[in-house]
């Protein structure tokens, strides 16, 4: 299964985050991760999306790439399309630190790519517990 990739595009709306959680859990399970690791991956994908959505502007859609490489799952989440203003509260923006704590703890490595203070892309990976 090495190098197998799944690409998912969803509207950048809260109601579609569940779709990405389910997809990430299914792919991680196929790669042989254990139950706790699958929960970590599922949650990390959701938190990365929350970081991109809960900003002063948000993209039209999200491109999510899952890749199996060198016994790791690599996940890239990119906002694309037109970026539109949101009416998100400053309190919700303050809670972004929670997402960062969770991502930093649950994934082996996380890279945040910002442009003019806007989170555009998040790349992360986690080592695999199995070889199926």
């Amino acid at each position: 299964m090495s190098n197998d990739t799944i690409t998912l595009t969803v509207p950048a709306k809260p109601e579609y985050v569940m779709v990405t959680r389910l997809t990430s859990a299914a792919f991680a399970s196929r790669l042989g991760f254990d139950v706790d690791q699958i929960e970590d991956i599922k949650m990390s994908v959701a938190e990365a999306i929350i970081l991109i959505l809960n900003q002063a502007v948000r993209p039209e859609e999200l491109l999510i790439k899952f890749k199996h490489l060198d016994q790791c799952i690599h996940i890239d989440i990119t906002g694309q399309g037109e970026w539109i203003e949101t009416n998100i509260s400053s309190q919700d923006i303050d809670h972004a630190q929670l997402s960062r704590y969770i991502l930093g703890s649950m994934m082996d490595e996380v890279e945040f790519k910002t442009d003019n203070g806007i989170m555009r892309e998040i790349c992360m990976h986690k080592g695999c517990g199995g070889s199926s």
Binding site: P14, E15, V17, M18, R21, D36, E39, M43, A46, E47, I49, I50, L53, N54, Q91, D92, H95, A96, L98, S99, Y101, I102, S105, M106
Partner: protein, 106 residues
Amino acid sequence: MDVKEKFNPDTNTWHVSLDGEIDIYNAPDLKDKLHKLIEQQPGNIVLDCQNLTYIDSTGLGVLISALRRVKEYDGQITITNLKPYIRKIFVITGLDKIFALEVQGT
């Protein structure tokens, strides 16, 4: 997500059970619900999470927001019956030091 609440006037406490998943989509509904309970009767809150299967950072944010309101009248929020995996999220974010937590099975 399903929320059920019952008020105990003897202890001035809302007992709220959370069922299912709390995420960025339904967290605003939970926020409205908790804030309405606090406005209706300012009391302590016990959140029963026995059937809570998932909570993300927006859900945690709602709980922090509710705690801020409850602290205004020196009330408290206690979170009970957390599944170990969900307790881990509270620990990672440091919220185990802010809320009184009780883990499922202990």
